[in-house]
Amino acid sequence: MLQIDAIVPMLCVTLAALASMGAEAFRAKDERMPIGSLGVVGLLGAAASAVLLWDRRTESFGVIVADNFGLFVTIVLAVVGVLTILFSSQVLERDGLPSGEYYALMLFSIVGMIMMATATDLLVIFVALEILSLAVYVLTAIRRDHLPGTEAAFKYFLLGAFSSAFFLYGIAFTYGITGSTRLDAVGSYLSAQSMSGNLLILLAVALLLVGFAFKISAVPFHMWTPDAYEGAPAVVAGFMSTGVKAAAFAAFARVFLSAFEPFKADWGPVVSIVAIATMTLGTVVGVAQSNLKRMLAYSSIAHGGYLLVGLVAANQVGKAAILFYLLAYSVTNLAAFGVISMLGSRENGNDSLRDYAGLWHSRPALAALMTVCLLSLGGLPPTAGFIGKWYIFSAAVSAGYYGLAIVGVLTSVISVFFYLRVVVMMYMADRGGAPAPAPVSGVGIAVLALSTAAIIFLGVLPTPVLDLAAASISTIF
């Protein structure tokens, strides 16, 4: 019997994307349509179906599995999508962006992300990767008259194409060795045969690693990140830094902790080094940034490093920690980019550090919300970011990786330095003669307040979500 349960979340989002395209195509020229709400409905449908599928572990077509791990990520992605749409609805008109195409692309990329998180076949993961990447390339350059955006999209596209090729090569080698691209088949073949030291398999692992490292912008494959985030509209940058990262990490964890688990001794040290390099470079270079979007780009690189620590630790705690961290980080980072996008205007992004001088005096609520986001990114209690970091580092410590944990906490201190630079600007610097930023709509503030409430809630009462994260990895791996 045809079993399609597992792809229902994706179907919901796909339908919403198609509906958005249709609405855009058939709307009269000056008619205003709430296209974004279609997307919200689709994403809520995806989240609802994910909740209904919970604990049922259904499979479709043998390549998509709706296990709790994938469903947790699906819910995270739905949250990312809803928040992005709500933030976007505040700025699309201001920036004169084509809302139909914008929402359709965003929803299609979410489809790719959900597919990536739930796929159990390397080839399907590759297809998912391409679906999400192509949509995001276009989103980066959605402002066609904006030169930096176009340049960023082109860079992103070229490097992304390379990395996809690496990834595909890795799949080919894997197939050549094991005769399958299904993760379970690859895993059982590799653990049955004594393949240790086999150069071909190491090559395959290395190539796949490069592919993933690019998508999660791990050092040394991070070069595109600051340019892409700076060039893209702020909401899109927020979306890229959370959705793409969440999906890529889900697939990364699934591939490396199931199929290639037998080779942990080989890839573990490499990933450790990458993690250390990523955390260090992300924070150290972040200190030198004067553009807020670039700064958050480096910060998101560093956060990828923390997630890698969880991946290396890879015990039960570590896997659950990745999931919790993804949620905490996504909400926080999206809200931070949301603030940036709301402060911008059509002509000017207002995203350099100086533009935040004295924000406290002109927009106290916005400054306070931004401060909570930044403190959460820096990992200070009582915020989601603190619990996330604590969870990741306790995973590292309980797996014995004291070195990684120490690098992790020390880089967090450095990162606090640059988050504080923004706070200093907002609270302790004078606005000078610059005009106050444009007023922010009530909806925008409400969404931000909601995200901030979520950040504090996750920081004070993390138990329900922690338990959920722990439960969602207990069934697999």
């Binding site: 040290p269 450790s272 106290p364 403190l375 200070l380 209690p381 009582p382 603190f386 604590w390 580092f393 306790s394 410590v397 309980s398 797996a399 014995g400 990786y401 004291y402 070195g403 944990a405 120490i406 906490v409 020390l410 967090s412 201190v413 606090v416 330095f417 504080l420 706070v423 200093v424 609270y427 302790m428 993390p462 138990t463 922690l466 338990d467 722990a470």
Partner: protein, 513 residues
């Protein structure tokens, strides 16, 4: 009941958040509200003291509820005599700090009050936590309001000072976080479940070499907070740049969090390593005593002088703790309270002078006694208290600490004694230059004496200094059983661990690469 001690100020802060005061029209309301909340908190802490059973060494008012059960993290609070005293000190100093800023803080009064109350909540939380995770949350959460207090309402170099304060203390505390996680993990290795429960972790037997690392991670975090020489460099900046209220809280309570951490965590958790490192700690402490005093002597700025004197005085506390005998620890805790009262008072009065003249340079003053006799009298009492004059609070603490140190290792007492003498030199010399002699600057001749509001803030401190000097037993008796128990446990544990060193299978680090 104990929860109220930190929940009341926090609720007050949240309440203030709801008061609309964008244009500053409700400043008076905000000030009175904040003062009322802080007085209510003080009332709660006093009620705790009244309800406290002074004959027991056990933790009292214990409250416990599961928080993050998957990791054995509980909301677990309780106080013994040592923490009781520090909680009361916090409750006592916060209203005074708020009073001190009544007029000098005139912009963003609402936010200022919110941060002050949030800070109080976090500080009390640090002193009452018996769960290491909870402790760390309060410990780190405390940084944020203090950062804003220094950074927004401070003096010229405030941003530099605020960032330096934040980064310095955070760098220390994140390493402690790793050590805490390591402890919880070793607990799970030993018993099968994670736990951050301090009582269970006290009982954990840890291999000596592992203890060394963990002790260092905890102690560096606390040493930065104390601040122990050579980790003190953030302190003069933070103190000098902070607004008066911030300085009072910083000197009065925040620094005590470091020494409290040594007493509550470093020594009893890692008795073996503590015994090993105690002489080194004591050495740093006496270096700090002498160094702080010498540097204080040459400061042209009164606030900086008081800041360096804190380095010196806190050295006594660390010396007493390192001695780890009853006299030493009692003296150390007493000195914490005494220093809180007297240094809080010094900053308060210096703040009053700075409000009047907008300078803190000693050379700008002179002969103030003529225009402001009452302020001079208050300052004299606090100065004498600070230099350890008998019958005032500083004497009891320093005396007991030195007795403790003498019983342990007399060599440390000599430089410590030198520190006492030096403190008389720099404090009295400052007093002389500022208050006595001829009026050298015309504007000083007409300065206004204590206002009723200022009197209300400084008189309790003077009274407390005298009370603590005359009747130390009131303050010593509640903490005596707790100190006794602490000293016993640390000594017994470190000795039994010594004797079983070869036979026991201890909890250890496991490092895969």
């Amino acid at each position: 009941m104990l929860t109220l001690s930190w929940a009341v100020p926090l609720a007050g802060a949240l309440l203030l958040l709801l008061v609309g005061n964008a244009d500053g029209r409700r400043n008076a309301l905000v000030r009175w509200l904040a003062l009322a909340v802080s007085l209510a908190t003080f009332g709660v802490t006093l009620a705790l003291w009244i309800g406290f059973d002074s004959s027991s060494a056990e933790f009292q008012f214990v409250e416990r509820a599961p928080w993050i059960p998957a990791f054995g993290i509980d909301y677990y609070i309780g106080i013994d005599g040592i923490s009781l005293m520090l909680v009361v000190l916090t409750g006592f100093l916060t209203p005074i700090a708020l009073l001190s800023s009544w007029e000098s803080i005139d912009r963003k009064v609402k936010e200022f009050s919110i941060f002050m109350l949030a800070l109080e909540a976090a500080m009390i939380g640090v002193f009452v936590s018996l769960d290491l995770f909870l402790f760390y949350v309060f410990w780190d959460a405390m940084l944020v309001p203090m950062y804003f207090l220094i950074g927004i309402w401070g003096y010229d170099q405030r941003i530099y000072a605020a960032v330096k304060f934040m980064l310095y203390t955070m760098a220390g505390s994140v390493l402690m976080l790793i050590a805490i996680l390591g402890l919880a993990y070793m607990h799970s290795e030993a018993t099968g479940s994670y736990s951050f429960d301090l009582m269970k972790l006290y009982a954990l037997e840890i291999a000596p070499e592992t203890q060394r690392w963990l002790f260092l991670a905890f102690t560096v975090a606390f040493a930065i907070k104390v601040p122990l020489f050579p980790f003190h460099t953030w302190l003069p900046d933070a103190h000098v740049q902070a607004p008066t209220a911030g300085s009072i809280i910083l000197a009065g309570v925040l620094l005590k969090m470091g020494t409290y951490g040594l007493v509550r965590f470093s020594f009893p958790l890692f008795p073996h390593a503590a015994a090993e490192f105690a002489p080194w700690l004591a050495l740093l402490a006496v270096i700090g005593i002498v160094y702080g005093a010498l540097v204080a002597m040459v400061q042209p700025d009164m606030k900086k002088l008081v800041a360096y004197s804190s380095v010196s005085h806190l050295g006594f506390v660390v010396l007493g703790i390192s001695a780890m005998n009853v006299q030493g620890v009692q003296g150390a805790v007493y000195q914490m309270l005494a220093h809180g009262v007297s240094t809080g008072g010094l900053f308060l009065v210096v703040g009053m002078l700075s409000d009047r003249r907008h300078t803190r340079l000693i050379s700008e003053f002179g002969g103030l006694k003529q225009a402001m006799p009452r302020l001079t009298a208050a300052f004299l009492v606090i100065t004498l208290a600070s230099i350890g004059m008998p019958a005032l609070n500083g004497f009891v603490g320093e005396f007991l600490t030195m007795v403790g140190a003498f019983l342990w290792d007399p060599r440390f007492v000599v430089p410590a004694g030198l520190g006492v003498i030096l403190s008389a030199v720099y404090m009295l010399w400052m007093f002389q230059r500022v208050y006595l002699g001829e009026v050298t600057h015309e504007e000083n001749a007409t300065l206004r004496d204590l206002s009723p509001r200022e009197a209300a803030s400084v008189i309790p401190l003077c009274a407390m200094a005298i009370l603590m000097g005359v009747l130390p037993a009131i303050f010593l008796s509640p903490m005596a059983p707790a100190v006794q128990r602490l000293v016993n446990e640390v000594q017994v544990n470190s000795e039994t661990q010594d004797s079983r060193l070869k036979t026991q299978n201890y909890a250890r680090f496991r490092v895969p690469f």
